[in-house]
């Protein structure tokens, strides 16, 4: 009898757990589902009261209408160029400096490394005005290098790579040196292949960060042909608010969000492990 009661108690506890977790998941997903549904509605359907859940006829023309207002394909291309260049830059500067700090003895090493640690937690707003000034003086306003170059030096990336490379045995390097390998060759042929998992983690997070970045591109880019996806969404937002073209705004929002969602769903295991790893150690 007592055992039965215990079982019923455990069962209802389990049901309660599922109910809460499912409720939370619904709250998380509804905004996205609503966004996708309303990207296929007319403006009057979006604003109707009581709300309409599904469009009477899916308005696929919203997406062609959107392309007339905002060149989404151009925005994607720009975002991909900027994100790819930044990711490659961060991976290169972080791994090569991380390698030097992990595997070489040289005067000033610890001092320089502490300097890098000190800049690791520096909030972006502290450097915003001077970096903007530097970029403007270089004539990099409305250029991709203005978006990319200030972002490719990552103190966090150097720290992460140094920690990772430190765990590799020195014998590997010594063996290569005996075979006559030069130091750059050791970096390219031995270090880089061995730290691929760490590079992939760093690269993924850098990519998402750059892809979603808004404030810095807002300052550097005003040329419509060079806008990244968030900038395009912002100008669409301002346009739609005046013109009451809410269906175009929702179509644009959906198009800007769905690619990251798809990438994430395919690589989710990777992301979540990376966070558990870097989050706890960083």
């Amino acid at each position: 009898m007592a055992r039965n009661e215990y079982r019923i108690g455990a069962l209802s506890l389990n049901v309660a757990r599922y109910v809460i977790v499912i409720f939370g998941a619904i709250v998380m997903v509804v905004p996205f589902l609503w966004m996708i549904n309303s990207s296929l509605m007319t403006t009057s359907e979006i604003t109707r009261q009581p709300p309409v859940w599904f469009p009477a006829t899916p308005q696929f023309s919203n997406f062609t209408g959107l392309l007339e207002v905002v060149p989404m394909h151009r925005l994607y291309l720009n975002s991909i160029i900027v994100a790819a260049a930044t990711v490659l830059g961060v991976l290169f500067t972080s791994s090569i400096a991380g390698f030097a700090f992990a595997k070489y003895q040289f005067p000033g090493r610890d001092l320089l490394f502490y300097m890098i640690l000190a800049t690791m937690m520096v909030p972006f707003f502290i450097t915003l005005i001077p970096v903007f000034y530097i970029v403007r003086q270089l004539g990099w306003i409305n250029t991709f290098q203005g978006l990319v170059v200030p972002g490719i030096f990552s103190a966090y990336g150097i720290f992460l790579m140094r920690q990772f490379i430190s765990t590799l045995p020195d014998e590997l390097l010594d063996a290569a040196r005996i075979d006559g390998a030069s130091e750059p060759l050791i970096y390219a042929r031995i270090i880089v292949p061995l730290v691929k998992p760490a590079l992939a983690t760093l690269g993924t997070f850098t990519f998402i960060g750059v892809w979603n970045a808004f404030l810095w591109p807002l300052l550097v880019i005003s040329d419509r042909d060079l806008m990244t996806v968030p900038l395009g969404l912002n100008s669409l937002r301002l346009y739609a608010a005046e013109a009451r073209n809410l269906h175009l705004l929702m179509a644009g929002t959906a198009l800007s969000v769905v690619p990251t969602l798809v990438i994430f769903i395919f690589l989710q295991r990777y992301f979540i492990r990376g966070i558990a790893l870097t989050g706890l150690k960083g």
Binding site: R17, I20, V21, G24, A25, V27, M28, V29, P31, F32, T47, R48, Q49, P51, T93, S94, A97, A100, Y104, Q105, F106, R109, M115, I116, A118, T119, M121, V122, P123, F125, T127, L128, I129, P130, V131, Y133, I134, R136, P150, F153, A155, E183, P184, F214, L215, L233, N234, L249, T253, S256, T260, L261, F264, Q268, F271, I272, I275, A276, G279, L280
Partner: protein, 287 residues
């Protein structure tokens, strides 16, 4: 080793130019008046008057400080409580772990700007889904983002929605680091669920808790995108945050000295809060 210097030269130079140098330069500019049009060598020295102005006369800045603190307390508090609660739920033997984590994680990888647009619709006064739900449940229509009393709380909800999944993942990783033996031993000694949570989970989770609170606080103090995309500081500055006000001061009104002083005040606040949090949570760990 000459190669070591060659390897670090570019990254270190980059950090000097784009990180360390700018920090010092911002500090220098904060003691001057500057519109970024004259060369920095010619900007007039004003001493601490930018700081004095901000702390005594700039009512928008003071409002922004208060708003930012409310945002931090509400956001970090909710993320810690909800994040830990859902992590505990997900860490128990629940089916569909991967599915739940993916669903909870979707907002984390979404651009804050896009979420701002979506939430602007959901919380719209006239046709937002949240109002429809309220009315269906017998409530009355609320202005939400259009109300000076409610807008900040809607933005807190958005921020919690966006980052909760991230903190759930971190808490789950922390929970999985606690050896099962401790719970088994406590069960043998007759400890109930609450006692096990209070005396095993919480103490052993302190390092993770520390990480979550410190990083979330630092991030929340810098909120910009979410506000920019929804209320842009309004109505009546009720959602003005420090970084948004700094952005306006610098890039709308070209007052670089004042904006730099703002940045340094916020940096000082971040450092002070972080040190206090580290102290408090470390001391308790040594109990």
């Amino acid at each position: 080793m000459i190669w070591a210097y060659i390897f670090i030269s570019l990254p270190v130079a980059g950090l000097l130019v784009f990180s360390l140098g700018p920090i010092l330069f911002t500090g220098w500019v904060s003691l001057h008046e500057w519109n970024m049009l004259t060369p920095p060598s010619e900007m007039p020295w004003v001493g601490l008057s930018n700081y004095v102005y901000l702390l005594t006369q700039d009512t928008i800045f003071q409002r922004a400080l208060v708003n930012t603190f409310i945002f931090v307390i509400g956001g970090v508090g909710s993320n810690v409580i909800l994040g830990l609660a859902f992590a505990l739920l997900l860490n128990s033997r629940l089916r569909g772990q991967t599915l739940w984590r993916v669903l909870y994680f979707l907002p984390v990888i979404t651009a804050p700007l896009a979420l701002g647009v979506i939430f602007g619709f959901l919380f719209n006064r006239n046709y937002g889904l949240v109002n429809s739900l309220l009315i269906a449940l017998g409530g009355t229509r609320q202005p939400f983002l259009a109300s000076p009393d409610q807008a900040l709380y809607v933005i807190i909800i958005m921020a919690v929605y966006q980052y909760l999944g991230y903190y759930i993942v971190i808490f789950v990783a922390g929970l999985q680091g606690i050896p099962q033996d401790y719970y088994d031993a406590a069960s043998v000694d007759g400890a109930n669920v609450w006692q096990r949570f209070r005396h095993i989970t919480l103490p052993l989770l302190r390092p993770v808790m520390l990480f979550v609170i410190v990083t979330n606080t630092i991030g929340a103090l810098q909120v910009f995108d979410l506000v920019f995309a929804t209320t842009n500081g309004g109505p009546a500055n009720s959602t003005m945050t420090v970084v948004l006000h700094m952005y306006n001061t610098a890039f709308k009104f070209q007052r670089m000295g004042r904006a730099s002083a703002m940045a340094f005040i916020l940096l000082a606040i971040i450092l002070a809060i972080t040190i206090v949090q580290l102290r408090l949570l470390r001391d308790r760990t040594q109990e």
